[in-house]
Symmetry: C2
Subunit: 133 residues, 2 copies
């Protein structure tokens, strides 16, 4: 069953909210913004995965960072952890409903990154060349 996640684009002015609210949203952005969070949610969007499979699927992701990020996602209720008492042990990670609802916004962002990639790379190159006087 698909998760209904058609987000209304309400007037969320994420920069100029009340201070308290701004801080709260900031805490959430800190998780979302995390490079590995994005990758992991992307990987899990296709279904449950085991720890090592997850790590192998994301180049550059270290053992430590994977566990840390997974704990964070679990804490936020975006990912569930299921351990099987087999030998060798097996642990599956899976997106919760809320976790998978995050996938669509991230896809939007990824799509943007894709479409702007060459522009940004060009801008960076020009900027750097200009900087070497």
């Amino acid at each position: 069953m698909m998760v209904k996640s058609k987000l209304k684009l309400v007037e969320v002015d994420y920069a100029s909210e009340g201070e308290a609210n701004c801080k709260a949203l900031g805490q959430i952005f800190e998780r979302i913004g995390d490079k590995w969070t994005i990758m992991i949610v992307g990987a899990l969007s296709r279904g449950p995965m085991r720890f090592n499979a997850l790590q192998r699927s994301i180049p550059g992701l270290s053992h430590k960072m994977l566990t840390t990020t997974l704990r964070g996602l679990e804490r936020d209720g975006l990912v569930t952890r299921t351990a099987f008492a087999t030998i060798p042990p097996r642990v599956d990670y899976e997106l919760t409903e809320q976790g998978s609802s995050l996938h669509e916004p991230l896809l939007t962002l990824a799509s943007w990154a894709r479409s702007q990639q060459s522009y940004i790379e060009g801008a960076r190159k020009r900027f750097d060349e200009r900087a070497e006087e």
Copy 2:
């Protein structure tokens, strides 16, 4: 004139691309993911702003982080810097077309954060309580 930015949700599988491409996208995510980037783009989405106005509009943003982030955005071609040779000097920062095209994806994300805020806070609380055995 509104920037046309209806992004097609193509099959961007941001987790399992080629290694090279993954690295490249990662570099872009690093900028987007940055807490302050999000805030600054949000603030600038309403129009050009001066340095100090920008800083005051975002609670907790230090002098140094503002300049650093602005340089980054300028380097990526997402923000323009315009200096007026007046006394005292005045510098306006403004989103480029590409920069403002980032605003909509970010709004989507902010909207998601908003809608999941209480859920996440609850999940965190429960997780933390459960952790104190």
